[in-house]
Amino acid sequence: MSDYIVKADLLGKSFPGGKRGEENVVFENINFRLKEGEFITCIGHSGCGKSTILNILAGLDKPSAGCVFVNGELIDGPGLDRAVVFQNHSLLPWLSALKNVTFAVKAKWPDWSDGQVREHASRYLAMASLTNALDRKPHALSGGMRQRVGIARAFSLETDLLLLDEPFGALDALTRGAIQDELIKIWTETRKTVFMITHDVDEAILLSDRIFLMTNGPKARIAEAVVVDLPRPRMRAEIIHQAGYYDIRNHIIDFLVKRSEELSGSRRPVPVDEVRTTDDVLVYPPDVNPIADAHKAQTQALRSA
């Protein structure tokens, strides 16, 4: 139990207001566990509720069903044991880059001296290569720099769990690549557990240990967890040439283009016997290893030949 830092059991989210008093079920029966130090990304089409899952982990949203444990404690509201990087940087515009980080650091360690707070914040801003922009206000920073301040702020809290909600969604492709490198750098130095939402398949492969693939909503669920069996440290420029990269990529693309729709709850209702209500029979999404599968298929083909 203790090697899992996050445990989500039977999460569901639904809204009233469907036809004839039915509930609109966004997702249901979501179960997953995150190991300490794991980098998890979650991919799915818009409307599958992946941002809601992240907000539930952050404590900013409440599930309609199920519960989440972080470090064995039931989540009931936001807290300083988790840090969030929001989609649109969410820096306080009247504070400089440094002050935005010290603001968070002071909240976490109110007893620290000003010097200590400043030193701690500067260290994380330096990790995000922002040493030259400490005194600049957000409006004077580029989109990429703002997002890096947001990342530095989240990492500076030194929480066991980091939640990243499409942090690079609003950035252009070149800036995005540069920040991915920064994120890898910071994550490698800190080795915290990360749960991240993304739309970008290459980004997910570059960063993740496992990738959660979600079916389309309504009634979305996590169909499988793709294991990214590629060696670390990974480099953005080299990873695409690595053996197996395209096995993973093709598997995910195939899922997003075809299977996410075929497996969708709206198209194929979950049979009654699949709906589990007791805690002891949680069904976790199966780990899938496209590289190993491809290898197996290859050897099988050779053998039969």
């Binding site: 404590g59 807290g79 988790r82 969030v84 929001f86 649109n88 969410s90 515009p93 909240a107 409006h139």
Partner: protein, 334 residues
């Protein structure tokens, strides 16, 4: 870009000065030309007949009229029963207490020229704090009283409007509950409160402060509520994830986020307060720029009155600039 802006600023400044000169010119000529052209009093035939009937020679009447004496004055002279030659022998018309020419003319048309206003102004500016009894105090003293009333009422309004605005802005329930009262009370002219205040408080000074309070409170209340309600959800989420207390969230996140809107409300309020104090002081009397203007009008010291009006405008401008400067301190770009 900055070049064209500077050029335009210079052009605007030159145009402003030209407009001022044109205005002063028109003012000057319309008030002083009366002195030259119409210095001779024009008497109607009836008036001449009346004077002749009182025993005044027609030639004398014409001569006096040329000196610029008015009909009432001529009527009085006629009452003396002396011919013009006899009066001149006795030391001239002035020795009987009659003024001739421009001074008499001024009393008739009344409106002072820019030069006269300037003379009055320079006297007042160099001695703004003189005090010669209850109805004759310098403009400086009048301003002190008015500003004290405005600032007291304004600060009281801040103390009420900002916390209440926070409550309304943060709670849709309170917002809906208080909104009808705000909507009804807001359009009431602040001066309408003056009798109520005078009756309840029984003190003119405090009543005027109350009027300033009541006129300042609405813009601040509405803007504070609007600013607080408009704080971005993302910023509040940050406060939540950092487990900030309600009080800390209010002071560290909501207040700085809403500050520009709140200060806009304050800026509107101080402008209205300065408008209202002049009217209120005209009603309550005693001391203050509003009363000063009214008192000068009653005494027909029009030059002094015009000077006071200009001062009211300038002080209003300074108050607005001060709030504008304060706004700049809390403004932020997103």
């Amino acid at each position: 870009m900055t070049m064209t802006m500077t050029v335009r600023n210079v052009q605007a400044a030159l145009l402003s000065i030209a407009l001022l000169i044109a205005f002063l010119g028109v003012w000057h000529f319309s008030t002083t030309s009366a002195d030259h052209v119409a210095s001779a009093t024009r008497l109607s035939d009836d008036q001449v007949q009346t004077l002749v009937g009182k025993g005044m020679a027609k030639a004398d009447i014409e001569a006096y009229a040329k000196q610029g004496l008015s009909f009432p004055q001529l009527d009085q002279i006629a009452g003396l029963g002396l011919t013009r030659a006899e009066i001149d022998a006795a030391g001239g018309i002035q020795s009987f207490g009659f003024t001739t020419g421009g001074a008499a003319e001024e009393a008739e048309t009344g409106f002072p020229s820019p030069a006269q206003v300037w003379r009055e102004a320079s006297e007042q500016i160099f001695d703004p704090f003189y005090d010669r009894g209850p109805n004759d105090k310098g403009i400086g003293i009048q301003l002190q009283y008015s500003l004290a009333r405005v600032l007291t009422g304004f600060v009281l309004a801040i103390l009420v409007a900002v916390p209440l605005g926070f409550l309304i802005g943060m709670s849709p329930l309170w917002s809906a509950a208080i909104n009808p009262y705000v909507q009804v009370l807001k359009p009431i002219s602040p001066l309408a409160w003056l009798p109520v205040a005078l009756y309840l408080i029984k003190d003119a000074e405090k009543a005027s402060v109350f009027v300033i309070f009541i006129c300042s409170v609405w813009p601040m209340l509405i803007n504070t509520a609007f600013g607080v309600a408009g704080v971005k959800g993302d910023w509040l989420n940050i406060a939540r994830t950092l487990e900030l207390s309600k009080l800390k969230t209010a002071f560290r996140v909501i207040l700085p986020a809403a500050a520009p809107t709140i200060l806009t409300g304050m800026r509107i309020s101080i402008g209205i307060a300065w408008l209202v104090i002049v009217a209120a002081e005209m009603v309550i009397g005693g001391v203050g720029v509003g009363y000063f203007v009214w008192n000068e009008w009653n005494g027909l010291n029009l030059a002094s009155m015009i000077f006071a009006i200009v001062v009211i405008g300038l002080v209003g401008l300074i108050l607005d600039l001060a709030l504008g400067q304060a706004m700049r301190l809390v403004e932020y770009k997103e």
